[in-house]
């Protein structure tokens, strides 16, 4: 299912410490919510059938596991602290002697991806705008903005880039609309 392998990955104790604390808080909230749940005594149900039983147990498990994660992270942080700079959470520059890559561009790009995808699903779909139009706008803007670098490297003018993006947008919008409405017989949002 996954190929993530912790053996080769650098751990991030500080991140794990925060994550552990968040899981403990989440587990505690579940347990409290489960504890406060109606036990349906007026229905004289078997006490082992109360609706809060399983969520409560799972909440407690999350608290315990979150605590283990936080404690493990704390131990790793201490070990890293005692080994001086260059520990697991130290900036790459101190380990390699080189400046770490500037993450701003990547963050800006991911913010754009989030904005476009969430904007399409939450604002353009199901709010009165025809599906085909919303999809055309989304695909065109997405390709227009995020494929810009590659297009520039290919030496294409801005107008040409946007025309290409609009062709992809129109094509995909028409294909999906026709396929869903006429082949899959789905009423589109």
């Amino acid at each position: 299912m996954s190929t993530e392998n912790d053996e080769g990955e650098a751990p991030a104790p500080r991140t794990d410490l925060i994550a552990g604390a968040l899981w403990v808080a989440f587990g505690a909230a579940i347990t409290i919510g489960a504890w406060r749940m109606d036990r349906l005594e007026r229905m004289s149900i078997n006490p082992y059938e109360i609706p809060g039983l399983v969520p409560g147990l799972l909440g407690l498990c999350l608290v315990a596991l979150g605590l283990m994660l936080a404690l493990r992270a704390l131990a790793r942080l201490r070990a890293a602290g005692s080994s001086g700079p260059g520990g697991p959470d130290a900036p790459a520059a101190t380990v390699t002697g080189q400046a770490p890559p500037d993450p701003t561009a990547s963050t800006r790009q991911m913010a754009l991806v989030f904005g476009l995808t969430l904007g399409y699903a939450l604002l353009l779909i199901g709010t009165g705008l025809p599906f085909w139009l919303g999809t055309f706008v989304f695909v065109t803007v997405f390709i227009g903005l995020l494929d810009r670098e590659r297009q520039r490297a290919l030496g294409r003018a801005v107008a040409q880039q946007w025309l290409r993006a609009a062709i992809y947008g129109a094509g995909w919008s028409a294909l999906v609309t026709l396929a869903f409405e006429h082949i899959f017989l789905v009423r589109l949002p």
Binding site: D6, M68, T117, I143, W172
Partner: protein, 497 residues
């Protein structure tokens, strides 16, 4: 035995209609393309296709999903060999020798080996699927509430432990998945839990939108974060498999097929573990150990046979126990339930023909990958050159419209978004997503059987630990958990400490 063959023949004949053949060929191609594109996985392909086939008859919808699944697992080998990037996690082991062969100018031969290994692996797995499903179905009839409770816990714990990564984080996401399954009306008294007065949430999160989010939208986000430049693919030789490669390594093929199938049967483990296990076993047994990692035909054959044999293997627990053997199998299980097919211990009693239908679907899918493996290499190379920025918006549109198509409600789209963002964040902080999904799938089974078991025993926990199958499952779970404790691991004789 003979009646089984007749039933299989009947199933196969039922799919020999022009419509079914077209669906099988088209979905195998979609699967191969999805698998070949780095960043898009078989789970995502099957989840997306589930949403697209919702209106089709169940037999055709499931044929499409199985062809997509088999095609995607096979398709991953293309980018592994040509680009040294596994198209799906299942093909990671194929990079080692596949890419080495490609660099030596034998990319075509490597693709031929991948095709023959994948086809033979699926056939071996298919044989065991037909053989073991009735047997395991009989054993499953002995399962009661206590055994099913432990089986659900076993699936989540094993998935979190064996799929690589941090087991503790896997257990956390697995438990979180089990909790998510409890949101909405409970299955016994219809009491609303954690719905906060929201009518949609009272119905709980639907499984398919959650899966499309966790494996579709999240993978789209990851693909954009790790944007790769458009690759340059070197020219390659003939892709026709060499009979010599198959005959020379027949022992490796059979061994890898058996390993892949058995890894598939273990709940929640999946194709990547099957490929690595087969590869490791082949290396241990090989007379040419030194060639492994440097372009070993045997290594590539083992990895490709193992991961494809896992696909039918993963279907065995789905059919007999309603427990998925891998992430794509979890989606397939959800699709079966949506289409009114009810797998589980009673399957060999209520609808034994369905088991042979699945075996026939596997065979058709195998033929699909064989056809595309021999003919469509140039097209697949072109597909690999399509930039991520063009594919991503198109796939996201399918994620949105596909989840909406399930029940025509926007709540499912929001569910997809929520699980997509959650899946992306979990991946970024190295929390495995597969146990979360398995937890959501198994949550209902776990809860109902825990409560049922407690009512039956009047609160006595003893039967959970004393009935033979329960005790065995609990023992394995306890062993797996204890062995992950660092202090215990350090004391083990093979730890090297």
């Amino acid at each position: 035995m003979f009646s089984g063959l007749v039933a299989f023949g009947q199933s196969l004949a039922s799919f020999m209609t022009p419509e079914s053949v077209f669906f099988a060929l088209a979905s195998s191609l979609v699967g191969v393309i999805i698998g070949a594109l780095p960043g898009l996985t078989a789970t995502m392909g099957v989840a997306l296709m589930t949403t697209l086939t919702i209106k089709l008859p169940s037999s055709q919808a499931l044929l499409i999903l199985i062809c997509t699944y088999v095609g995607a697992i096979y398709g991953g080998s293309r980018s592994a060999i040509l680009l040294n990037i596994p198209g799906t996690p299942a093909s990671a082991a194929s990079c080692l020798d596949g890419y080495a062969l490609a660099r030596q100018g034998h990319a075509g031969r490597a693709m031929g080996i991948a095709t023959s290994g994948s086809v033979l692996g699926t056939l071996i797995g298919m044989f065991f699927l037909a053989l073991f499903t009735p047997v395991l179905g009989d054993v499953a009839l002995k399962f009661g509430a206590y055994e099913f409770f432990w089986l659900a816990i076993f699936g989540v714990i094993i998935s979190a432990t064996l799929t690589g990564g941090d087991a503790l984080k896997g257990w956390i996401t697995g438990i979180a998945g089990l909790f998510i399954a409890t949101i909405g009306q409970d299955g016994i008294h219809a009491y609303e839990r954690f719905a906060f007065g929201n009518r949609d949430l009272a119905g709980g999160f639907s499984l398919v939108p959650a899966l499309v989010g966790a494996f579709g939208f999240a993978e789209v986000l990851v693909a954009m974060k790790e944007r790769r430049p458009v690759p340059r693919v070197n020219p390659f030789d003939s892709v026709i498999p060499k009979i010599r490669d198959v005959f020379q390594y027949w022992r490796t093929i059979i061994r890898s097929g058996v390993i892949g199938t058995f890894v598939g049967i273990v709940p929640g483990v999946g194709e990547d573990v099957a490929a690595w296990s087969s590869y490791a076993a082949a290396k241990r047994a090989s007379k040419e150990k030194e060639k492994f990692g440097k372009g070993s035909v045997e290594g590539l054959m083992a990895a490709e046979t193992g991961d494809n044999a896992c696909v039918p293997g993963a279907m065995i627990p789905v059919l007999t126990l309603q427990i998925p053997g891998s992430a794509p199998a979890a989606v397939l299980l959800a699709a079966m339930l949506i289409h009114g097919v009810k797998p589980g211990p009673m399957i060999m009693v209520e609808s034994p023909q369905f088991v042979y239908d699945v075996v026939a679907m596997m065979l058709i899918a195998t033929l699909g990958i064989l056809i595309y493996g021999l003919t469509l290499t140039k097209l697949l190379v072109q597909v690999l050159k399509v930039p991520t920025t063009l594919i991503v918006p198109m796939i996201f549109v399918l994620c949105v419209v596909g989840t909406y198509a399930l029940a025509q409600r926007l709540f499912d789209v929001w569910t997809m978004l929520l699980f997509g963002v959650l899946g992306f964040l979990l991946r970024q902080y190295r929390f495995p997503v597969a146990p979360l999904v398995l937890g959501i799938v198994l949550g209902d089974l776990m809860e109902k059987n825990l409560r049922r078991g407690l009512v039956l025993s009047d609160g006595d926990l003893t039967p959970f630990f004393t009935r033979p199958i329960s005790a065995a499952l609990f023992g394995i779970i306890a062993l797996v958990v204890v062995l992950r404790i660092p202090a215990v691991r350090r004391r083990l004789p093979w730890s090297g400490a």
